[in-house]
């Protein structure tokens, strides 16, 4: 029996997985609505400096995909938008999407940035985890797609207090429109692919690591922003406390992972990303000495073990097996790593310039709410539940899942899964046997 269904698919989430799924589906001739919550697609991959094990520049390999997705004749991008309601069945879903007002006309804005430069308010930039500031009218980052400004309504002087409007005066294209309203769109689709990605676990609650108390204890994603050429320090690896170069760096694994009190599971990618980050530090500055404090070195993917071996042999990275009991600080704000090494009876102290915490990958904030809207089950860890032998099927027929919202995975896995979820969605909408 051939099931008639709308040859349209919705992809929720505009990170690398969502982008890949949208492009695959679009290439198959299927119309795609890609819904992205933030003002730009790109997701976490845009925040990384380089990717393991090839050390490719992350944004360089991502940007062409973003451009392809944006220009794809079959893909409609809805950024700064959220899914609010999903009714119906596989083959025929009715979805309500809330398109938030940017207060900027997308057709007119060319992203020149004149407005942002003149905006009198500065707030911490989410993209750089607060390590840099942005205007209230802003582009999340330089390579954002679409290249259109957005006004942050919570901090805008005009929208909160009725004063200012400098951006409107400065814009030569008359692209600012404070009269814009949030709108709701109704979309009818045959299948849905969820690719909402992950959030990094906030280690503030793990007081033994001193995150937020000690300035030179940062998370892995913050490190990525620091070491990135277009990041807050121009790619110079400097300590947040005194902006001096960091020459001894400790990478602490399993922060919040494999931890029954927080996240009992393994986040899969951290052993590799910390190795990569240690390698990058050495490439930036050959004086850097890095230590990786780990429990098990999980280098299971293609080329990973060779990468770790090279990091030891060619880059002199020191791998120390043991659980880090705590981090303290000396008077010069140097972090001191207290590690219970596996082959020593007492804790070994190591003084470093900078400590990088490889934090857990956790489900995105808002996952619970979204799962209720989509009426799909989450597993015990808050990720979307799928079946082992049908790895992309959620608990609701017609809704498929890929990438880190399913389980922490690295980029190649996310991309492969995205194609896989696209195939499953295509089986529903592109006809054939039911």
């Amino acid at each position: 029996m051939i099931v008639e269904s709308r040859k349209v698919v919705m992809v929720i989430g505009g990170g690398i997985a969502g982008i890949q799924a949208a492009i695959d589906l679009g290439d198959m001739g299927i119309k795609v609505h890609l819904i992205e919550k933030t003002p730009s697609i790109g997701g976490r991959m845009a925040q990384l400096d380089k990717t393991f094990p090839t050390n490719d520049c992350s944004i360089c390999i991502l940007a062409p995909k973003m451009a392809e997705c944006f220009r794809h004749p079959n893909v409609t991008l809805h950024t700064y938008s959220e899914v609010k309601e999903v009714l119906g069945v596989k083959g025929d879903f009715s979805v309500k999407v809330l398109k938030k007002a940017r207060y900027v006309k997308e057709a007119e804005c060319v992203g020149c940035g004149d407005c942002s430069a003149k905006c009198p308010v500065r707030v911490p930039n989410e993209f750089d985890f607060g390590m840099r500031r942005r205007g209230v009218i802003y582009l999340p980052y330089l390579q954002a797609v679409p290249m259109v400004m957005t006004i942050d309504r919570d901090n805008c002087l005009y929208l909160t207090k009725g004063v200012c409007k400098i951006c409107e005066k400065v814009c030569t294209r008359e692209a600012i429109d404070f009269e814009q309203k949030d709108t709701e769109i109704d979309l009818n689709v045959g299948a849905i692919v969820v690719a909402t990605g992950f959030d990094p676990f906030d280690p503030t609650g793990l007081s033994e690591y001193g995150y937020k108390r000690y300035k030179n204890v940062i998370t892995a994603l913050e490190y990525e922003r620091l070491v990135c050429a277009s990041g807050p320090s121009g790619g110079h690896l400097i300590r947040p406390s005194d902006r001096k170069p960091a020459e001894k760096i400790a990478f602490i694994q399993c922060v919040g992972s494999r931890d029954v009190k927080n996240n009992p599971y393994c986040s899969t990618v951290c052993c590799m990303h910390s190795t990569k980050e240690a390698v990058l530090a050495k490439e930036h500055d050959s004086n850097v000495q890095s230590y990786v404090f780990y429990m098990d070195m999980r280098a299971v993917g293609k080329g990973f073990q060779g990468y770790v071996t090279r990091s030891e042999e060619e880059y002199g990275i020191k791998y120390v097996r043991g659980r880090v009991a705590k981090i303290t600080e000396d008077l010069e704000r140097n972090p001191i790593i207290w590690c219970e090494e596996s082959d020593s009876p007492t804790a070994v102290k190591t003084k470093v310039d900078l400590a990088v915490l490889a934090t857990s990958l956790i489900p995105r904030r808002g996952m619970e709410e979204l799962s209720k809207i989509l009426e799909i089950e989450l597993d015990a860890y808050g990720f979307i539940k799928t079946a082992s032998l049908e790895p992309f099927d959620s608990s609701r027929e017609g809704i498929f899942v890929c990438g880190c919202c399913r389980e922490p995975v690295d980029i190649p896995e996310s991309v492969a899964q995205a194609s896989g979820a696209a195939a499953r969605a295509a089986e529903i909408v592109a006809g054939g046997f039911s």
Binding site: C57, C60, L142, Q143, A229, S230
Partner: protein, 258 residues
């Protein structure tokens, strides 16, 4: 910044669409400033750049050429930048042989996210070219045409192009017998070939309009009469030159038409 000592160099850059051109765009988006001397020709891949085109640029008065591709391992076309590297490095060495400062040809890598690096590369290169002066400070005006044109011809010859472009495979993957060729051995063979073709073309250039004797030909270049004669004998056998007259006891060689 551009007008130093009255010398305002002409710089030509070949930028690849996926990496260096994108990096240059990012420099613009980020407003990193650099000197105005650079003119860009966009190519899809740094592997598109033929050494003869670079020589053409020098012949026509460009003072410095930049060929910028993707970092090794990141080429959008997988291997293009390796070929660019092989060709440009060969050309750099050869420029040195014929008396042109090899620093006039820059081969480097810029990724799409390296806006600042691009700006710095252009600034540094421009400063360097200002310092070493215009091309005619390397070779005199009259030698200029002879050497660069002959060089261009040399890099157009079949055998030289074959060797330059086979280099990567032979060194990395080996020949049909699975033997890897040693870099130094290969360089010897490669440069021998280029230099031979170059010398041949110097001679042809000298006798293209007028018949000259062996000694006269030798005077137009750094070749000895014996070297000139060796070339002439082979070229005569291949029909490239002919003895058009005999002046006393001296045969006068002329380039064959066609």
């Amino acid at each position: 910044m551009s007008q130093q000592d009255g010398f305002d160099p002409k710089i030509l850059g070949f930028l690849c669409n996926w990496c260096s051109y994108a990096g240059a765009d990012l420099a613009g988006v980020s407003r990193f400033q650099y000197p105005t001397n650079l003119r860009v020709i966009r190519v899809m891949c740094s592997g598109r750049v033929d050494p003869t085109l670079v020589l053409e640029a020098f012949i026509r008065g460009i003072d410095g050429v930049m060929v910028l591709g993707c970092h090794p391992g990141e080429c959008h076309y997988i291997l293009g930048n390796y070929y660019a590297e092989g060709r440009m490095k060969t050309l750099q060495r050869f420029l040195e042989i014929i008396g042109v400062k090899p620093e006039r040809l820059l081969l480097d890598w810029v990724s799409a996210s390296e806006g600042e690096r691009f700006a710095n590369l252009v600034s540094d290169f421009t400063k360097k070219i200002v310092k070493i002066g215009t091309l005619s400070t390397d070779i005199s005006k009259d030698e200029f045409q002879k050497r660069l044109l002959a060089a261009k011809e040399a890099f157009s010859q079949h055998r030289t192009r074959w060797l330059i472009n086979r280099e990567r495979e032979l060194l990395v993957e080996g020949n049909v017998f699975g033997e890897r060729v040693d870099q130094d051995d290969f360089n010897k063979i490669k440069f021998e070939s280029v230099v031979k073709d170059y010398e041949k073309n110097r001679i042809l250039f000298a006798i293209r309009d007028k018949a000259l004797s062996v000694t006269e030909i030798a005077q137009t270049s750094t070749l000895t009469p014996q070297e000139v004669l060796r070339h002439l004998i082979i070229m005569e056998q291949n029909g490239l030159v002919t003895v058009s007259e005999i002046d006393g006891v001296k045969p006068m060689y002329k380039k064959m038409r066609g």
